[in-house]
Symmetry: C2
Subunit: 153 residues, 2 copies
DNA sequence: TTTTAATAGATGTATATACACATAAAATAA
DNA sequence: TTATTTTATGTGTATATACATCTATTAAAA
């Protein structure tokens, strides 16, 4: 869908400004279709992201800060997201022995299992929406990274 | 910045999956740098978006539903955003005469003025970050819209 | 006309973002 | 060692998302 139809607006001062709105809108759209799938697993997008990060290092543990560093949205309140996951017994907290300030997070068997089934659902969704070629995706990645070239830190 | 560095991860199953994460991360980054500017005006990203939409039709009024249709994030709770704007006297609510279910929203002089100064600050920011050409921005827009080609509604 | 359905907006709840601040532990400086 | 600073995490608050429900009003059906 053209952005003009999505936002009911045709007034963009230039292509770069339109691209900014287009990125924001596309991100909302991606989150929105993804969340719909995750709802069947009683997971939010952010909870899924934390589980995915933990699985990436499994069976190693990660402290809260290490998870935060890998989050898509860096301002996520990771301790609170872990609270919800812990209640559902998808992760476990333990205090680090080497540094008692750190809380180490482990994904449980149950967490791994729910991650696996939700991921396969999401993969199927993404496959069904595959409208751009590998080459185009690569081009898209390059453009987004060029846009962020002045990103600090 | 490369996505690999932003997310501290190198495991992407393909370029399309990486593009998905890249869009989500870029959207977060754009919102984050924008919000920093808007803070000087005591505006959130969403409040700014509503003001911008109202100005687009000024001096006409828009009902809540018309605003919602133009929001970047369609699931925004527009009545609540208008609550905050009304408290700050940046918009005014009136009940529609033709249809008493509708609430008509008008941007005030004060709203127009704060929108103008915040917009010029944002334009300056965007100009300083202009790293892609008009042609590349166009390409980016085309790729994002191709990605959303199966979007419903 | 009376009833039913649809629509617009407000409101309630859980979770998240964004950010300030508090607390405990570790690292560093005096 | 003692004091100071830094770091890791947790907690509090305002606002937002996402979605359900309630109310008033309008439109449509019986």
């Amino acid at each position: 869908m053209k952005l003009e139809n999505a936002l009911l607006s045709t007034k963009f001062s230039n292509e770069a400004q339109k691209a900014t709105l287009n990125i924001l809108y596309t991100a909302w759209w991606l989150k929105s279709i993804t969340s719909k799938e995750l709802k069947d697993f009683d997971l939010t997008h952010e909870q899924y992201n934390v589980l995915r990060i933990l699985k990436g290092k499994y069976p190693d543990q990660l402290c809260v800060k290490d998870i935060a560093r890998r989050m898509i949205e860096k301002s996520s309140n990771v301790p609170r997201i872990i609270d919800r996951l812990e209640i559902k017994k998808l992760v476990k907290r333990t205090v680090s022995e080497s540094d008692k300030r750190e809380t180490l997070i482990t994904i449980t068997k149950s967490g791994l299992s729910i991650l696996e089934s939700s991921t396969s659902k999401l993969n199927a969704l993404h496959k069904s929406l595959e409208t751009i070629t590998e080459k185009e995706a690569e081009q898209l990645n390059n453009l987004l990274e060029k846009l962020r070239v002045n990103e600090i830190e």
